[in-house]
């Protein structure tokens, strides 16, 4: 998995976010401050521009550029969370990237930054089962499906982190926007990195 493949993954993630921007914002409007779609789209648009302006020469440099751009441009909590994930992924990446290993590092970064645990109705709920699948030797497609299931499992959950936690019990019954965008990250990986890519 080289720099070009990773670039394709990130571009696909950016495309999916742009495509789902409206829906993410609607989900966030229900239980948060309604800016998740806009914020993520702004951040990833900046990421794509940065990658085009100065293509990184290694997987590690690429992941770091993604992380730094996200922490600066997203604006909302997903900025430092996704940004930290990519920075930790950059630190874990060697010359060649093993997706399960770097996603584990990224997930640990998100958990450390957001202090969220599975069940808190956050992006951790989508990422955790996906990383588990990859670490168990599953395919990226399986991981993406596990992320989708994890995302859907957030519907009955009561938010315990972030702006949605202010709603308490009223946050139950809604899909978590963070888990939804995290599932898109895995979906993008399955599309661009799957089948031995």
């Amino acid at each position: 998995m080289d720099t070009a493949a990773l670039t394709a993954w990130i571009r696909e993630f950016a495309r999916l976010i742009a495509q789902e921007k409206q829906r993410l914002t609607e989900l966030d409007s229900a239980i948060g401050d309604g800016d998740h779609g806009v914020n993520m789209d702004r951040g990833l648009t900046a990421v794509v521009s940065a990658l085009e302006a100065e293509p990184p020469d290694s997987p590690s440099a690429l992941l770091k550029k993604v992380g730094m751009t996200l922490i600066s441009k997203v604006g909302g909590a997903s900025g430092p969370l996704y940004g930290t994930a990519f920075l930790r992924m950059a630190a874990a990446a060697g010359d060649s990237v093993e997706l399960g290993k770097v996603l584990r590092a990224g997930l640990d970064g998100v958990t450390a930054r957001g202090k969220a645990e599975p069940g808190d109705k956050t992006m951790v709920d989508a990422l955790t089962p996906a990383v588990a699948v990859l670490e168990g030797g599953g395919s990226i497609e399986d991981a993406a499906r596990a992320a989708d299931e994890g995302r859907d499992a957030t519907i009955p959950m009561v938010a315990r982190k972030g702006r949605a936690s202010y709603l308490g019990e009223r946050s139950a019954g809604h899909l978590d926007p963070g888990a939804t965008s995290a599932a898109l990250l895995l979906r993008a990986a399955a599309t661009t990195l799957g089948d031995g890519a």
Partner: protein, 785 residues
Amino acid sequence: MVGLVVVSHSRPLARAAVALAAEMTKGRPLAVEIAAGLDDLDEQTYGTDALAITEAITAADSGDGVVVLMDLGSAVLSAETALELLDDEVREKVVLCPAPLVEGLIAATVAAASGAGRDEVAAEAMAGLAGKESQLGPAPSSASPSLPQEHDGLSATVTVSHPHGLHARPAARLVAEARSFDGALVQLRNATTGSGWVPATSLSRVATLGALQGHDVEIRASGVRAREALGRVAALVVADEASLSTGAVGPTAASPGVAVGPAVHLRETPINLPDHPSLGPEPERQRLTQALDETRRAIAQIRSAEPGIFDAHLLLLDDLVPAADSLIAQGLPAPRAWQTATTDLAADFDSLTDPYQRARAADVRAVGDQVLRALIGAPAPAVTTDAPTGDDAPPAAAGGGVLIAADLTPARAALLDPSRVAGVLLAAGSPTSHAAILIRTRGLPAVVGAGPDVLDIPAGTEIALDGTAGEFAVAPPPPVLASFRERASHEAALRTAARSHASEPAVTVDGVTVAVGANIGDVGDARAAAANGADLAGLVRTEFLFQDRATAPGVDEQVAVYRRIAEALGGRRVTLRTLDAGSDKPVPYLPAPAEANPFLGVRGLRLSLLHPDVFADQLLAVVRVAREAPVSLMFPMVTTVDELRRARLLLDEAVARDGAGRPPDLRVGMMVEVPAAALRAADFVPYADFLSVGTNDLTQYTLAAERGNAALASLASGLDPAVERLVGEVCRAAGDRVPVAVCGELAADERAVPRLLAAGVRQLSVAPALVPLVKQTVRCVEVPR
């Protein structure tokens, strides 16, 4: 200086918060950086940027580190991310502070501007919520860390004596002290307001106690050195060393005599306001009226001890009633309304720039407290034998203890029971304070300005004090105790001799007769003066007739009262001083303009000349009484010869108005209390039958030292050489033509009397109870020729 970084989703919010906080430091330099909103977007886009935060931290750091305050959500996560991006040596100096943004920023700004370290700045920011919590009570689900309510350490309750309460410098001093005991946990609460416990190590939490002068503060301490920590903090709640030592005098003689006895402490039951809702404006107003009546009666009973002080208290009650009434009308119960009204008025006085006016806040609190206790039926302050640190000290004997307190309000001083209290030892105070004057009239020996350590003396410890020399000893060894006892027996012998010779004339060793008179504030004093053998009334303060009423007394009323005084004195000469009012002793119907410095304002004769109608009535009353008894008329606060001449012209008019010619035995004189008058005494002599030096005012004007100011006690006490020279000047100018009297506090000072007589003074006038002793003092003097 510690730098601050404000992280917010909104740039306008961050800017406004910084502007609000900057109000607190008024131009002092601050290092505050903002990382808020998204860099390249318009002001209205919310968001946080970890890179911008790292830049702000770098910009704010001048070497002392940075405290970062943030709003919520991504602001916190971005700040943490930013921290990760910083170099190790910078990161070590950055504190991400979880305080609420606005409140925390204000507290942090104040702390940073005052040079606090970053941990302290962060701690202050964290305590920023305390103000709201103490006002509103903690939120039902408050997650704020609460201090343990269970407590098994030591505790004490002390009364705040700082004039401005436990704020600013006194509070900072206390916090510094508390922090020096890192092994002990020291906590404070304001027992008077019923506040919660706060750590003594937090400046902003201590400030939320709102501990004002006179409030009781409960202190508890646990851990190693708890006892020591408790003692130090308790002493600083009462009065910090700096404020006591500004006079640089140490223990000061305040009331003559020697006392030996066990230490007893003044203890007040804290006032806990009941939580009952208002019963409706009318019943609440009635409750207040009853409490006011009760307080007025109580003040009336002690008023004669020092009428000027207590008349001012009565006036303050009247000032407070309309504010309390309107709060009652708004639905507050009477106690809450009264407390609010007194707190507000005291705060108004506190905020004035004039120290004399500010000092009246203490009067407001003292009298407000008295009414509040009457309202809720709380017991009056009592002398107890409880040790301040909870020591299991032996109980003091039933009578004759030495009372130890930070300071005393006039009402407390007036109520001291000589059968239970042998002497008074005050940590603060000055010999010229109202309390000291009242202690002297009670005849109790007293030492003031003894320092806060005396408050730690366990109850029951033997104390010896000499109020003549200004000395005291704690648990004195036998030889020292013997010396005090010897002085005590000498004093006792002197008193006995003085009493048995009270009615005899005071003649010096070398045969000079000195008239010893009494200073009189009402008819009761006149009787006391006669009973104590006074040769005359050297000063009748006629203010008591004029104060605490809506209109001036008429001629007939004044004649009746002056006549009763003359009758009580049984033919002795009566020196009636015309009204000595001013904005320091206001009279409602003689409005004086607000003055920055009432002691240098329109007072005494200056005020009377401004109100010739009221003055004319008083002069006419004096003329009429002078036909029946030997009367001297005396004008206060004369500065120029012209004033004296104008006053005499008005007297001539009064004589003409009376229509019976000038009373043959009426003498006319003046007070010499302005240095200008003392220096030009020779110019006044042709217009005066006598001169009477008011040493209290002459001293404060000559030394530019207000006599109630404890910090200036060393300047305002005793016979200063400069004042002595002025008295000598007056006596030289008077020569054999007119007699010179002294009617200030110095006339009763046994060290001053020989010098006053040597200067040429031939008449002394003192408090009625002191007449026998002063006569005895005179009998021991040899006047140099």
